[in-house]
């Protein structure tokens, strides 16, 4: 029997998951939409974000966990963005962003990052202290205040990314490049530089979601698989490269996934999400949402 409080709890869990998932998937969707690159290593950027968060919390020993968390929020996207820039320059640019070869290349990147973390950080899953600890009382249960803050921060970052895309010159260049890269060049857009920036931005969004979930899920060198799978599902269901669709799909799948996990089982939620993709691909191959972006 599912009670009211249980339902509310499930809805909360789902919403927090959805907000973080939207952040991760937005990065993947941007990279695919603008560059036509399917970034298999996207989940590793999430993992790197979590590992940096662990390092900050552990190495700023004695300091308040909140300080480590804030430092991680600033440092993780910088480190991971720099890694992405290097990968773009060393690998993707050299294979001319060819859609097929970049799949293999980013798969290679996935293993390099994973093994690099395994060798330096080790095989253990390490928990982090939540940066702030308080509970918010709901009818029938108390809920982690940190998780609510996570959802708020994720929404804030989504809004910031949206503003970047809709209001700035580089955002306009990204959208124009996505629609027609050759014509964009004919209007002075340095397309390769836009690609590099988009790849870094996608990685930074992933890293930020990694920092946000680290205090909830801990940090582990294999933790990138889950966000990668879910982001792919979201990006496919939302319509490849369609940012509005991505956000919509992240909301539906994130909330659905969270609710089913809480009320039934996490495995069941993954099964249902995967079946949903198959169904969407059959019924609406273009994705659920259609039309204008950003």
């Amino acid at each position: 029997m599912i009670t009211g409080p249980a339902l509310l709890l499930a809805l909360l869990e789902g919403s927090v998951g959805a907000a973080v998932l939207a952040l991760t998937a937005l990065g993947l969707s941007l990279v695919f939409g603008v560059m036509r690159v399917i970034n298999i290593a996207h989940g590793e950027f999430v993992m790197l974000g979590a590992v940096v968060a662990w390092w900050c919390s552990a190495d700023l020993l004695g300091a308040h966990p909140l300080l480590g968390f804030l430092v991680a929020l600033a440092v993780a996207p910088l480190i991971v963005g720099a890694i992405a820039l290097a990968a773009d320059w060393l690998v993707l640019r050299r294979i001319s962003y060819d859609p097929e070869r970049t799949i293999v290349a980013t798969m290679g990147l996935l293993y390099i990052i994973q093994q690099g973390v395994l060798m330096s950080y080790g095989p253990d899953a390490r928990p982090l202290d939540p940066p702030i600890y308080f509970r918010v009382q709901f009818p029938g249960f108390g809920y982690s205040g940190y998780k609510l803050i996570v959802a708020g921060l994720a929404l804030l970052l989504l809004a910031a990314t949206w503003l970047l895309l809709a209001r700035t010159r580089i955002g306009l260049y990204m959208r124009a490049t996505r629609l027609d890269s050759e014509t964009a060049q004919a209007f002075g857009v340095p397309v390769k530089r836009v690609y590099a920036i988009v790849f870094a931005l996608g990685a930074m969004l992933a890293a930020l979601s990694g920092v946000l979930i680290a205090p909830i899920r801990g940090a582990h060198y294999l933790m990138g698989a889950d966000p990668l799978l879910l982001s792919f599902i979201v990006v496919i269901v939302g319509g490849l490269g369609n940012l509005r669709g991505t956000l919509l799909a992240a909301a539906c799948i994130g909330i659905g996934e969270g609710m089913i996990s809480v009320l039934f089982s996490p495995t069941l939620s993954k099964i249902i999400a995967t079946l949903l993709v198959a169904a969407v691909l059959v019924v609406r191959p273009g994705g659920l949402a259609r039309g204008a972006t950003p």
Partner: protein
């Protein structure tokens, strides 16, 4: 203004444009005509740096442009109206024009000046460009290029797929740019329109220029037109 010396452009091993030499002066309209697949679009793309392999010499007011990356060329003063319009279809009309303005960081006032040429577009500014009619889209394509404040304007079949009345309007607007000293290279398939607005016409076949003459002469003696584009009278 713009001078091409033995310009060659190739996608792979095949040269779609082969040692073309042409020049366009300020305030002049040079027409480029030829059959389908003759290499007209490739020639314009080669000028814009959008063709992978290009050799020869391309001088804009005496400055060499070959060797510059494609994105640096518009800023030097060459604007492009591609075949098939190629608007950023999901962006609004205003954003499409902004793409033109950003080439030289021109102020919004420049867009207003351009919009005076196509006042209908004022009502469409916040609409996605892909939702406009064919004629309006072509106007946006020309307006977007003009927002880049070009010294040289390349137009690839702006009348393709439009009804004569609309074609007329657009070509008249283009012809009026002569007064501003813009050098214009116009690909135009309709002989009548081309003879009406061009000063000179170059005929291209298999990537090479076969014949070049003042439009007046071609109107008087259409033999070369018949030969290279197969018009009958």
């Amino acid at each position: 203004m713009l001078e091409l010396r033995k310009i060659t452009g190739a996608y792979g091993p095949v040269k779609a444009v082969d040692e073309v030499s042409l020049s366009v002066a300020a305030g002049e309209i040079l027409g480029l005509m030829g059959r389908n697949g003759a290499g007209k679009t490739t020639l314009l793309k080669t000028i814009m740096g959008l063709v992978p392999k290009r050799t020869g010499s391309l001088l804009l007011e005496g400055e060499e442009l070959i060797g510059l990356p494609a994105h640096a060329i518009p800023r030097r003063g060459i604007a492009y109206v591609p075949q098939g319009r190629r608007l950023f279809s999901e962006l609004t009309v205003a954003e499409n024009l902004r793409m033109g303005l950003l080439v030289k960081d021109a102020p919004q006032a420049e867009a207003e000046r351009v919009l005076d040429l196509f006042p209908i577009l004022r009502e469409r500014l916040s609409q996605a460009a892909g939702t406009l009619s064919g004629g309006e889209q072509q106007m946006v394509a020309v307006a977007r290029a003009l927002c880049a404040q070009p010294k040289v304007l390349l137009l690839d079949e702006p009348s393709e797929g439009l009804i004569p009345a609309v074609t007329h309007r657009i070509l008249d607007t283009v012809a009026a740019l002569r007064e501003r000293g813009v050098a214009i290279l116009l690909v135009e398939q309709q002989v009548k329109s081309a003879l009406r607005i061009c000063d000179r016409i170059a005929l291209i076949e298999n990537g090479t220029i076969q014949h070049e003459a003042p439009a007046r002469d071609l109107a008087a003696d259409p033999v070369p037109l018949e030969r290279y584009i197969g018009v009958h009278r």
